[in-house]
Symmetry: C2
Subunit: 541 residues, 2 copies
């Protein structure tokens, strides 16, 4: 068999990655020859009880308290997460680099200081590969073979997290083009779900999700332009938050299509804990980042307080694709809990808003050059175009190479969609003066899909099109008893049929089921506050 | 002589305009056969003393107080401004329509109500033609012959002003393409400066400026993408404010290039009074307009209070074109007053920031299609391309028809310029922790230019490129004794030579000289607060 030049190049990157993971001391002992379907029981068998304690027992806030009080040293915390991250990688293939030496060096430095340097003192933070880190001479390839070995950029947000005292310790996988809702690339292969390796971890921040879903990290940074924080967070049972665009600084990544402004991605937190979402936002905005990145909205993080019971609109479906039974059950369970807690729960009737057209607009906005730049990068690297890349570029009929006038027309249509949606929302308050506070909705049509099946983005991408902030939180897991297939359902269209046919509960063993809370544009604080209220209604802390 | 079809069509629009102005009752009596160079003395000779009282004696706030207390009726106030507007039009050619009947009907309706309807109850407001008004069946042509008779749009901002109780009473001229810093079109001809008819009123909101400069209106609405509020306000000695883009709703105008987002225009107030700037912003944002126009930043108007003496940076020149002597004197006078009031005054050294390159980027951002759509509209109307249209499209070497990749590159360059500027500003606080609060700078290289000479935009357009809010306020008038030409100055480049050669104080008899206050992006409230502090330092109320 001939090795293609791109394979040779990818192999160099993989070797570098493997060597970085092999730095783990002591090496992981007792790894099974055959990986289990569900990886959740692995850590107990491999890690020390102290490592289990550090990585499992505490919330982010509790861990930070122990780091600040010096009850735990930054070094021991960092070492525990480094080893657990290596194990998560063994189980799910989620890393592109383990920053063993530099993370420990950083942790030791922090331990040497007389006082904690900031709110994140000693906290290990994982990051999506193409973001880069503060590593000197770090590289980033953004999953493009053509970019292997290229220097990483410099992200303003990471300066802030660094100054707040964090330890960057692990870099995580993303898919080819960073535009799949799964995580597979020619360089690093496929990342799988830590609850069921036959299912995807979601994407594009799927390496983060698999890592955090294994508690190989408790706080990471993803990016989202179509669901890339929320989809993988949902599929792995963790928390994720996509802020309104231009609140968190997102510049400086190694990425394609710089200067495109039809639709923007945003960075945001992925974490094991609800409270860490707000902590992340507070830290990110505490430095008034708009003073250095003037594209940002100059708006302090201002925690929201509800003064009356929430009014929640439940989106049972989006008018295009019917969610799978576990998702519908999750919506029912949570909305019942909200009602029981005295909240007002109404339906989010969005059929008139035409989410199908919304998706067509969104796909076109992603690739106003018809995908030329990105396809050129793949060609430059000589690497094969993966099926989900074909899906998101070639198989979307609305994707076209536009001239300026075509672009303006598309942007005007986008704006009209946004305006109609805003008016619809405002009208929910017309009758009684009580406008809907947030929408409760699925973050996907179901739990994590089998590999290569993530071919309907509408449940996340609609909120990118609208630039509405959204938080994802875990609710339940697929239960074959409760979540039987509805044999009477008649699919309404080809996508609906595809999604309907995909489901049998048995495929989804142990898969987490999560929900999404959506707020109006720029009401990020309100989404976080609503998440707290709703989780409390669910009986959580 | 043959009448071209476009002339015939333009003549219909002019006739309609002339008929609307001729509705004035009683008709204006005693108009001079030959118009004086300076129109400021005309009203006294033509209007009644009551009309003079209503239109001259009160600030906007005082007028509103009298309207709210019913000491003045909306009808008498409206009639006074209608007649004065007709006179201003006679003097400067500033109107495209006088809304005689509907303004009086609206005023009578307001008078018939038991209580004032809102903060603008009974206040006549003038508007730029292409914005349209609340008129049923109103038309708008945006100065394009091709669009004569087309229906006007519906501006969300005008719904808000209307609901606050205003009376729309006059519509005002703008130049061809709405992209000159003067005001001349094939439909309505040239609007001149109410202080000196040999000089321009500025543009593109030049009709507003000429009208308000004659107190034919005390509050109007302009739009600004390169100086179109601030330049004419400066040239006519009134107040103008360009907010940060996407704070005030600007959608719904009849305009070209809808969907273009390289650089945005914004609506803003033009007025006789400083306080009315903030009143306008408060009213505009009081309804949370982002609930209907989701492109807007969701941010309440939050008046700013300084807690220490201002730190003001004076931009003596922009590194490209040296301002004329009256402008330099104005900068000196105001900065001395600020120092005397205890403020810190430093220089704004911007040569390293390269305003020249900034202008090249800006011109390219205006016309990413190479001007194709706009030139097509002129061709469709069969009308001649005016010299200042040629200047802003054909004579700018950076203007090019771009493909998507060219567009992205340009936008990335824009963003880099913005980032460098933001960092420069932030660094002003590095040494002592006291960052510059605002920049004090010229709103033009000089007072209003002789006609057709407004060929350097940098003093206003730089702040559009950066999206920094800016307020313009009157300072002095050209004084041939004090403002002698500097015969020793050696121009640095072709533009500088052009501007230098333009100046002799005699040309600028009676011309107002104004200055501009610039704040960081989204710090609109701070700019308004700084304007108040600076005017107080100047001994004003």
């Amino acid at each position: 068999m001939t090795i293609q030049p791109w394979e040779a190049k990818a192999s160099i990157a993989r070797t570098k990655r493997d060597e970085s993971v092999a730095r783990v001391e002591p090496p992981l002992q007792g790894l099974p020859d055959t990986l289990p379907l569900n990886s959740q029981e692995l850590p107990k068998a491999i890690l020390t009880s102290k490592e289990i304690e550090i990585t499992e027992k505490y919330s982010v806030t509790e861990l930070l308290a122990k780091l600040h009080s010096r009850e735990l040293s930054a070094e021991e915390v960092t070492r525990a997460f480094l080893r657990r991250a290596a194990l998560a990688h063994f189980a799910t293939n989620c890393l592109t680099e383990l920053l063993w030496d530099e993370a420990i060096e950083r942790a030791r430095y922090l331990d040497s200081l007389p006082e904690p340097v900031g709110p994140l003192h000693g906290l290990p933070i994982s990051t999506k590969e193409h973001h880069g880190t503060k590593s000197p001479n770090g590289t980033a390839n953004a999953s493009y073979v053509a970019w292997i070995g290229k220097p990483q950029g410099s992200i303003l947000l990471y300066d802030t997290l660094w100054d707040a005292g964090c330890v960057f310790f692990a870099r995580t996988t993303q898919p080819q083009t960073i535009m799949h809702l799964e995580t597979s690339s020619n360089i690093y292969g496929r990342t799988v779900n830590p609850y069921n390796r036959d299912l995807t971890c979601g994407g594009s921040s799927g390496g983060e999700a698999a890592l955090i879903g294994m508690r190989g990290s408790v706080l990471g940074v993803g990016g989202d332009i179509g669901g890339s924080i929320r989809c993988p967070a949902a599929h792995t049972g963790i928390y994720g938050f996509k802020p309104t665009v231009k609140r968190v600084p997102s510049g400086g990544q190694r990425t394609h299509m710089i200067g495109k402004e039809t639709i923007f991605s945003t960075l945001g937190p992925m974490t094991t804990d609800r409270e860490a979402l707000e902590l992340f936002m507070k830290v990110a905005l505490s430095v008034k980042p708009w003073r250095l990145d003037p594209s940002l909205t100059a708006k302090e993080w201002t925690p929201y307080k509800f003064t009356r019971p929430l009014k929640i609109a439940v989106q049972w479906w989006d008018g295009v694709v019917m969610p799978h039974p576990p998702m519908i059950r999750a919506l029912k369970e949570v909305s019942e809990a909200c009602k029981a807690a005295g909240m007002e729960v109404v339906d989010w009737d969005c059929e008139s808003l035409n989410h199908r057209r919304g998706w067509e607009i969104t796909a076109a906005l992603y690739w106003p050059d018809g995908g030329e730049e990105v396809l050129g990068l793949l060609e430059e690297g000589g690497e094969p175009i993966l099926p989900l890349t074909k899906f998101i570029i070639h198989e979307q009929p609305s994707v076209k190479k536009l001239d300026q006038h075509g672009l303006w027309k598309l942007c005007a249509e986008r704006d009209a969609y946004r305006e109609a949606y805003a008016k619809h929302w405002t009208n929910t308050g017309k009758a009684d003066g009580k406008e809907v506070d947030v929408i409760l909705c699925p973050p996907s049509f179901g739990a994590a899909t089998p590999h290569e099946q993530s071919r309907y983005w509408g449940y996340t991408s609609n909120w990118n099109l609208l630039d509405y902030p959204g938080a994802v939180f875990p609710v339940t897991t697929v239960d074959p008893e409760k979540d039987k297939k509805d044999l009477d359902y008649k699919p309404k269209n080809a996508e609906d049929q595809f999604v309907y046919d995909m489901y049998t509960p048995e495929k989804y063993k142990d898969a987490p089921v999560s929900l999404q809370i959506i707020g109006r544009r720029h009401y990020d604080e309100k989404v976080i506050a609503a998440l707290t209220e709703i989780e409390r209604a669910m009986g959580r802390k």
